[in-house]
């Protein structure tokens, strides 16, 4: 009896120890929509790094631009009571889910690694709920970029990248005269909204952007500045080719690559496309921020949902720490085209456009010109963003007047609040 008891104790201790070592590595089930091409490669980096530490990665990819199908699946799973461990979720969406009590926090990791010190304040706020970190950012994307084909510009006689929207219009006219499509655009609501918010930044500046698109001030939404922004958007509608409707953004990038179009206005994931095709910045393509001297911030992040079980929680902690580690931030962002979310990562391996982005980021933080993107769900809840997108895309695809647009926009925002 004594021996048996001893054996039992020993074996249970042994299994507890070995189970303990399994717990230390952790298991994560990750829901995301980076399903192919460069993006899958990027998320593959995270998976490899996680597994290298001994963890188990269960992949739940659900494709569909912007993550719509993924959000459906997420909702169903949370309601069913078995949420994934980590979800590719960003912006106010994080706070929405947190308010429902659906998230776990990783504040222990954040505090011990001092995240507050290395993340831009605007971004850190978005990753937190009630002061505790519930998500970890993998990158910083800049939305207000302009990409151009230098040969096309040369043919049309455009000598430099425009720094105001008027200069852009002038350049566009020259391109049109030369038979080149001035603006490569994909007619999807989020792309229309991307151009829209870049235009707002350029016409009204960072303060106006904040007032209208973040704080949703009714006066700002109906102001003459807003009407001027819509006027500019209307002008730009004339610079896209007739097949723009429904086109995917990377196909528009392709148009610029091949010289069929002069410009594309898109975030820096477009750079990932250029690089993946072997194009060299400065030689095969040019990058410049859109007018406005600001920085429109977008950031992908993984949000940690409320799961139980030591293995899962350990997995979340390990993943959080991994995501914010300088090494991973560098590898991931080299693959994705963005810059690290951590401001203290050395950027030696990054290209000229990334370096420019970083420099502008620091300047914008100082000048209070860093604004969260409305189009990419960083600034406002999805319910209100939905109204923006509906209105902007309708404006772009119809002959609505700018005055009417501003009025309807204000009414729509009021409706959604």
């Amino acid at each position: 009896m004594n021996i048996l008891k001893k054996a039992f104790v020993i074996s249970s201790v042994a299994s507890a120890l070995s189970a303990g070592s399994v717990y230390a590595e952790g298991t994560v089930e990750v829901l995301h929509w980076w399903t192919s091409g460069g993006e899958a490669k990027a998320v593959g980096e995270l998976k490899n790094a996680f597994e290298a530490q001994g963890g188990t990665w269960i992949d739940s990819p659900i494709a569909g631009g912007g993550g719509d199908a993924a959000m459906t699946a997420l909702r169903a799973r949370v309601i069913a009571g078995n949420p994934p461990t980590a979800v590719q979720l960003k912006g106010p969406g994080i706070q929405e889910w947190a308010r429902e009590g659906a998230l776990n926090n990783v504040n222990d990791v954040a505090e011990s690694e001092k995240w507050d010190g290395v993340l831009p304040p605007v971004l850190a706020e978005i990753m937190k709920y009630d002061g505790a970190y519930v998500a970890a950012p993998v990158n910083i994307h800049r939305v207000d970029w302009m990409w151009a084909n230098p040969q096309a510009l040369e043919t049309a006689g455009v000598s430099e990248m425009p720094t105001t929207w008027d200069e852009f219009n002038a350049a566009a006219e020259k391109l049109m005269a030369a038979g080149i499509v001035p603006l490569a655009h994909g007619g999807q609501p989020w792309q229309d909204a991307t151009v829209f918010e870049d235009v707002v930044l350029g016409i009204g500046g960072a303060d106006f952007f904040r007032k209208a698109l973040v704080e949703l001030d009714q006066e700002a939404l109906q102001s003459d500045t807003m009407i001027a922004a819509f006027d500019q958007l209307r002008t730009m509608r004339g610079y896209v080719d007739e097949n723009f409707a429904g086109r995917d953004w990377n196909l528009a990038t392709g148009m610029v690559m091949r010289g069929e179009a002069g410009f594309q206005i898109m975030g820096d994931w477009a750079k990932g496309e250029f690089l993946a095709a072997g194009k060299v910045p400065g030689v095969d393509f040019l990058c410049a921020p859109t007018p406005g001297n600001g920085f429109v911030l977008n950031s992908d992040s993984f949000t940690f949902f409320e799961v139980e079980g030591d293995e899962n929680i350990a997995g979340q902690q390990v993943l959080a720490s991994l995501i914010m580690s300088p090494g991973f931030q560098e590898t991931f962002n080299l693959a994705k085209g963005s810059i690290p979310a951590r401001t203290d990562v050395a950027l030696d391996a990054f290209d000229a456009c990334a370096l420019r982005s970083h420099a502008d980021l620091l300047a914008a933080i100082e000048n209070d010109a860093l604004v969260p993107s409305m189009a990419h769900e960083m600034a406002i809840p999805r319910s209100i963003r939905g109204e923006f997108l509906d209105l902007v895309t309708n404006f772009f695809n119809s002959d609505m007047s700018s005055e009417e647009a501003a009025q309807s926009l204000a009414a729509a925002v009021a409706r959604a609040q």
Binding site: N243, A245, R385
Partner: protein, 300 residues
């Protein structure tokens, strides 16, 4: 006073007479719960302020007010009627037409029928993707015809806000008219030869025979086909998503895609529920009277 004499009913027979009810009832109860129960849940949610997740505090009609103040909803509603109407009518017409043609003792009927019927087998995602290319002005038909020399040819419905909904009709009709044809062909084949002979003896032309004699006999087939086509029209969520994504802008939005967008993309469960209730109301208003009039006539 009326006296009734009743024969005592043996237990086994009584049990047997209850058996059908016993068999059907769990299946019926499942239907009750999973269909009507869930509809009830949605109805309730439409009266609450649900956003990201369901929230059960009662709020009155505010979500409906919000719904009817949203311009996009009117576009979706209009599209539903336009699309469903055109889709059902055109599919019925093509279906009957092709069925009559195939009824003419064509030697290779089997092959032709398979060709007409196979689109039904494809998922809407597949159909939408292929037709998206075929109808794309820069890649598909317009490009093809222009390259063939007709420089002025234009067929850009897909990217035109006013005409895009008709492209959805084209793709949907392509997918389902063969099925309607199969149903009508089966119906035609089951028409008694005697009736046809009688009509021929009376001197009726082929045309008149079909119109005045055969088609009226096929009323039950009409019912089944309309039910199936209406079901497909409502289901055409997948097709719209794959073909136009609801665009250009939201010109091809339908109540089904509207509801989906508000529920899952915009964290507005309350509005989505309200739109779902409106969808159901429309369906009820059309389907129930039709079902009632048809089933009532079924004397057994």
């Amino acid at each position: 006073m009326v006296t009734r004499t009743q024969k005592p009913v043996p237990f086994s027979q009584k049990f047997e007479s209850w058996l059908p009810r016993i068999v059907v009832s769990p299946l019926f109860a499942l239907s009750l719960f999973f269909v009507y129960g869930f509809i009830g849940w949605t109805l309730y949610i439409s009266f609450t302020k649900s956003g990201v997740m369901p929230n059960y505090t009662f709020e009155g009609l505010s979500q409906y007010e919000r719904l009817w103040a949203t311009p996009r909803w009117y576009v979706a509603l209009g599209n539903m009627f336009v699309f469903s109407g055109l889709f059902i009518v055109i599919s019925l017409t093509i279906g009957i037409f092709l069925a009559i043609l195939l009824d003419q003792r064509v030697r290779i009927e089997g092959v032709i029928r398979t060709i007409y019927l196979y689109p039904m087998a494809l998922s809407f995602i597949v159909t939408g993707t292929v037709w998206k290319w075929i109808l794309n002005p820069g890649l598909g038909i317009q490009n093809f015809v222009r390259k063939a020399g007709f420089e002025d040819f234009s067929f850009d419905w897909l990217v035109n806000s006013d005409y895009a909904i008709y492209t959805v009709v084209i793709a949907a009709v392509w997918q389902s008219s063969g099925y309607a044809m199969a149903l009508f062909l089966a119906g035609l084949r089951s028409v008694d030869d005697e009736i046809l002979k009688a009509a021929a003896i009376d001197g009726a032309s082929a045309f008149r025979t079909y119109f005045s004699v055969v088609l009226p006999i096929m009323r039950p087939v009409f019912l089944s086909t309309v039910i199936i086509l209406a079901h497909l029209a409502i289901k055409s969520f997948d097709l719209v998503i794959a073909l136009t994504g609801g665009g250009p802008g939201y010109a091809t939005d339908m109540p089904a895609t509207f509801m989906y967008a508000f529920a899952f993309q915009r964290s507005e469960l309350g509005v989505a529920a309200a739109s779902a209730v409106m969808m159901l109301t429309t369906v009820i208003a059309i389907v129930v009277p039709y079902l009632y009039s048809e089933l009532r006539g079924k004397k057994r």
